[in-house]
Symmetry: C2
Subunit: 321 residues, 2 copies
C-alpha cells in the first residue's frame, strides 16, 4: 500500500527505516497528485489543507502537529470529512512541554534572566534577590487541560513536589484513579474562578475549541489578584486576547506571563507584549514535532490500522480536537 507524505519535516527516511516494506511517496508542491489517490496520507495540516476536498481515496490522515486549528480553515466543522484524522500527541510532546514548564518556573522563581543580565555587567549578585527563591515543591500549580499532554506536565510537577490542581470539562474526576493521582484537587467550568484564586502558576494546555475561546478573558484573571500568579500558555492562544494579558499584568492580577502561544502567530512586530520585562515570549516551540517522533507515532498507528484496531490520538470534531 502506498502512503503519501507531504511535510516540511525530514520524516521520510525515518519512516522508511521503521517500516521498510511500505511504499512512501514524497509529495512535491509542484505535483500534489499522489495525494488524490492515496488511502493513507501523512501531512502537515497547512500543506494538505488546500487539497482536502480533492482527496478521493483517503481513509486515514496522520497529521504532524497536535492542534487542528489549521485544518479547520479548510473544512466545515459541522460536516467534517469522513476519513480518520490522527494528530501528534502523547508522551514525547508532553515531555517536551513539561520540560518547558519546569524550566520556565525555575527561571521565573529565581530571576535567572536578570542573573544573565547581571553577568553581562560582570555583577556577582549574592543578595536575597537571588537566594530567596521558592523551589517547585513549595508551589501550587493549576493545569488547565488534563489530556495526554496535561497529564505528563502535571505528573512531572508532582514528581518535583508541587501541589497540582487540574481543570477540565468533566463534572468530576476520580482522583483515586491511577491516571489522576498527581491531581490534588479537580476544578471545572463551574469553578474556574476558584482554581485561579488558589494557584501560584496557571498552566494552560487547553485545545482551541469554541468552549475555550476567551476562557481566561473578560477580567476573570482578576481572581488571581494578590497571589502573584504567573500565567504560562503552552496550549492555544484562543484562551485569552493579548490585550487582556497586558491588562492583567498592568492591573497586577498576574505577576508575569510565559507565552509559547498567543492570539495570532507570529506575534506582530509592533505588539507591546515583546517589550514587557515580565513577559517571556517563545515562538511556539515548547513542544516540537520532530521527525523521529512523527515517524514513531505513524508506525504505531500504521500497525494498528493494518490490524483494524482503533488508531491513537484520533481527532474528534465534536470535541473540537
Amino acid at each position: 500500500m502506498a502512503v503519501a507524505v507531504f511535510s516540511v519535516f525530514p520524516v521520510v527516511n525515518k519512516l522508511r527505516e521503521l517500516l521498510p516494506t511500505v511504499n512512501f511517496i514524497e509529495v512535491q508542491e509542484t505535483d500534489p497528485s499522489p495525494l488524490y489517490t492515496a488511502e493513507i496520507i501523512l501531512a502537515d495540516y497547512d500543506k494538505v489543507g488546500p487539497h482536502i476536498h480533492k482527496l478521493q481515496n483517503i481513509k486515514w490522515l496522520q497529521a504532524t502537529w497536535a492542534g487542528i486549528d489549521f485544518l479547520k480553515r479548510y473544512i466545515d466543522i459541522k460536516n467534517p470529512p469522513k476519513f480518520i484524522v490522527t494528530r501528534i500527541s502523547g508522551q514525547n510532546l508532553g515531555q517536551m512541554m513539561a520540560e518547558y514548564v519546569v524550566a520556565n518556573v525555575v527561571f521565573q522563581e529565581r530571576n535567572y534572566f536578570e542573573v544573565r543580565e547581571n553577568q553581562k555587567k560582570s555583577f556577582w549578585n549574592s543578595g536575597p534577590y537571588v537566594y530567596n527563591f521558592r523551589s517547585i515543591s513549595e508551589l501550587t500549580i493549576g493545569v488547565l487541560g488534563i489530556g495526554s499532554i496535561g497529564t505528563v506536565i502535571g505528573k512531572t510537577l508532582k514528581y518535583l513536589g508541587a501541589t497540582v490542581y487540574g481543570y477540565g470539562r468533566r463534572e468530576s474526576l476520580s482522583l483515586e484513579n491511577e491516571e489522576y493521582q498527581h491531581i490534588s484537587q479537580y476544578f471545572n467550568t463551574a469553578n474556574l474562578k476558584e482554581i485561579l484564586s488558589k494557584v501560584d502558576y496557571v498552566v494552560n494546555v487547553l485545545p482551541s475549541t469554541p468552549e475555550t475561546n476567551d476562557i481566561l478573558g473578560n477580567g476573570i484573571l482578576e481572581n488571581c489578584k494578590g497571589r502573584n500568579t504567573v500565567f504560562i500558555n503552552v496550549g492555544r492562544g484562543n484562551v485569552i486576547k493579548d490585550a487582556e494579558i497586558i491588562r492583567a499584568l498592568k492591573e497586577k492580577w498576574i505577576s508575569a506571563a510565559i507565552l509559547d502561544v498567543i492570539e495570532k502567530e507570529p506575534l506582530s512586530e509592533d505588539s507591546p507584549l515583546w517589550k514587557l520585562d515580565n513577559v517571556f515570549i517563545t515562538p511556539h516551540i515548547s513542544g516540537s514535532s520532530r521527525a523521529h517522533d512523527i515517524a514513531q507515532q505513524f508506525k504505531t498507528n500504521y500497525e494498528r490500522y493494518q490490524q483494524n484496531q482503533p488508531l491513537i490520538y484520533q481527532v474528534d470534531y465534536e470535541r473540537g480536537y
Copy 2:
C-alpha cells in the same frame, strides 16, 4: 538546654516555632560570649570560624551550609575539633540543585537565552534553530558525586528519561540497589576519562577535598571532544581552574559551561568568563540555605541528639566533607 544561634539567616523564629521548649540565644557580633559556654551551636561557618578555638563546652555544631571549605580556614584538618559538626544537605538542597540542572539543560538545549534576546528585537524566530532541540530523554548525563545531593539530581534526570551515569570514589556500586537504580553505569577515578567521553552533560556535585582538587583540570576535558558536552558545576570550584574552563571552551572540548561555583568566589570583575556567550554564571545560588530548611534539619538532629542517636549529615574530616 541553651542553643546559641549565630547566623545571617532569619532562622531563630522558625526554630522557636518548631522547638518551643528550647532556649535559643541569638548571638550578636558585638557579644559572641554565648558561644563560649554553649553545648549546641547553630551557626554559619564564617561567623563561628574565628571563635572555633574558644568554644569550651561545645558538643555539636549544626552548620547552615553544605560545604565545609570555610571551616577549614580555622581548623587543622589533621587535628580536627572533637565535637560533632553537621552540615546542611539532603532532599531540599538536592531538589533545588536538581531544578537548577534541569532548567539549565532545557535552556541550553533550546537556546532560550537567545530566544530572550530575540524577544528584545521583536523577532519571532520559527526556524530549526529553535525547534530542533533534544529533550532530556535523549541525553546522557554524567553526575560526578553520588551523595545525597547527587542522588536527587540523578533521580530527577532519570525520571525525565535521561540516561544517567554516576561517578564516585568507590571501586564499584551495586546498581541493583534501590538507591542506585537511576544510575545506568558507574565510573570511578580509574575511568574518569571514559565517563567524560560518553556524556552530553557533565554535572559536578563533588565536594571540595584534596582528591577532587583539579580533578577536571590538566586537559582531561579533552576526552569530551566531539560530543559537544556541556559542563555544569553546582559542586565546588576546586575541581577545575577558571583558565582551564576557558581553554576547554576555546579548544571545543566542551561546548558550553553553566557555572554556579568557580575557582574563587565572588568571580573577579575582570574575569573573561563573564563575557563568554556560551557560559552562564550564577552567583552560587543553585541551592539555597533557607531559614525553614535549616530549622527543620536542626529539629531532626536535635531530637536525635536528645535520644543519643547518630546525627544526620555529620562532617567526616577524613573524607573531607
